[in-house]
Subunit: 336 residues, 2 copies
Amino acid sequence: MKTSLKDIAETLKLSKTTVSWVLSGKGDEKGISLATQEKVFQCAKQLNYQPNLLARSLNTGISGTIGLIIPDITDSFYSKVARSIEMEAEAQGYSLMICSSESEIERENRMIRLFKAKQVDGIIVAPTKVSKIEIQNLVKEGYPLVLFDRYFPEMQTNYIIIDNEGSSYELVKRMIDNGASKIAIITTNPHLRTMNMRREGYARALIEANLPVDPDLYGEVTFVDYEENVFKALDQIFGKVPDVDGFFFTTHILALEAFRYFYEKGININNGYELACIHGVSAFRVLAPNMNIARMPIEEIGKNAVRILLGDIKYRLENSNGKKEVETLVLPCSLP
Amino acid sequence: MKTSLKDIAETLKLSKTTVSWVLSGKGDEKGISLATQEKVFQCAKQLNYQPNLLARSLNTGISGTIGLIIPDITDSFYSKVARSIEMEAEAQGYSLMICSSESEIERENRMIRLFKAKQVDGIIVAPTKVSKIEIQNLVKEGYPLVLFDRYFPEMQTNYIIIDNEGSSYELVKRMIDNGASKIAIITTNPHLRTMNMRREGYARALIEANLPVDPDLYGEVTFVDYEENVFKALDQIFGKVPDVDGFFFTTHILALEAFRYFYEKGININNGYELACIHGVSAFRVLAPNMNIARMPIEEIGKNAVRILLGDIKYRLENSNGKKEVETLVLPCSLP
DNA sequence: CTGAAAGCGCTTACAG
DNA sequence: CTGAAAGCGCTTACAG
């Protein structure tokens, strides 16, 4: 049913070699007569020939596919980066396989193994918490790899992160400049370096302004059941510091939940409070038009991830197994 | 560097056949001695053998991969369905390739061709407006295919949609029951059957309640630059019908934009207005806690899409080229 | 200007 | 109980 090179070769009484060369655009280079080339193209079109990319990949060792693993495809940050990566990869002639790890370490490891088995040329991953085993294997094998959003300082890998500390610092500084002095931080997953840095930026801004880093203004929320836990954390903060006058949210998810809290408690958060959040979603334009938002450089992340990965892939092709030195990028957020 | 079946066979002085059988779990069935099996497993583990799935697929004609094409991966509806499909596919032993068509017909066609070239076993697609050529080809070839969200009545395909007319009717009925009588509809892409059905449901509810279907309450927004166009549509409606008392949004995207409008104009939409929307996003819980929302049966869509697709795939394997009759599903939304 | 042959890494009748 | 061989659909030296 499906037509193959062989079918074309047989109908035209040519060799598969010739057909393959013509179809892959090497006709002129290989000095194949225009007449023959024309015949081949004609026949291919007529039989509706579609090359079997699997066979090609098996032969060349190049799949033309890169793998992307993100914690959650429904998270607006990750899905936007995914789109950016898809567009960039496509522009470079690569296709993309996307998988969610669901923040489960075992899923992440499984996905990496799957990608390798499917012979993807390289992998981009926003690693989940403590993910290690398979990422370590990738590093050991010199498999083209780019991490983003999170990274492991003890591992020699390419990575792209945002300037978590600096962005947080700038956000909190703006809140202070606008008059806030009792600024709470609502954060999660403190074991993540990412979150640590955000907390540090927050603290630096406070200290610089001679404000205390008050533990009573620290709201930490476990990620499971975060809906409920955001409420608890806010209850506590309002209990201990009733005149709190600012909130710094380390993620948009926490902020959205907090807005639900404010709404339910009848707190008009857009009046008398300073707000800040890392990463913005469209609902914020309505919910809190004045919130200070550090906008993620989505396009930059996507473009650079693909660029670095393809660089590694190319390098590896040319210097079999040679290991290129890693590239690390700390991108600034755009601030108000 | 990478170990293959051959490497194991050679180190163990066995044939590739034996090794392949053992590793694919057919050792007992083929009567291979436990001693040999043990040796093979040992060696595979030691050499860190990972089968090349490309080679297997080329041989068996089964890639174990299904392709998914959605208009926009950053849209919360589509990304949630994507996640549901990914989970369900994985549970069935399939992996998933996701691509966005970006609502561009040429991209969609290209993606379908790519999927075929990569030999995916079947394709799930939420088609874009007028997409046809390649989908028609798929149908003609009997390629396993499931459409969702949108479909083409003139084509014999599996599809899963929600009950657009019924859900819209129910939503508008609730608004009327709650006292609204001048209900505007804000909609887009009127050439889509989906949107047409939603408008028809809206009209039926009005007519049933002896309310006029007032053209002045009809707000149609082109999808490009919809931000701006939502504002224009609302301006017009308020201009012509100042005492409008309800808004039915046919998509969450339009509603979000409208909330921005209400906010900017200082209209307290949660007071004196009835609201309804097809598909809910988390921000609505804060922006409009009383809005009537028809919740999409995300899990149902995902599960059924995979079930139907795998059914087709299996059927086709067993009856080469036989065409199974198509399955069409109209799922209800859950209503308030 | 064109072709025969080997090989990518698997699986699977067929044979003993 | 195990193996030699063909084949999936390509690409690419090598040869003429």
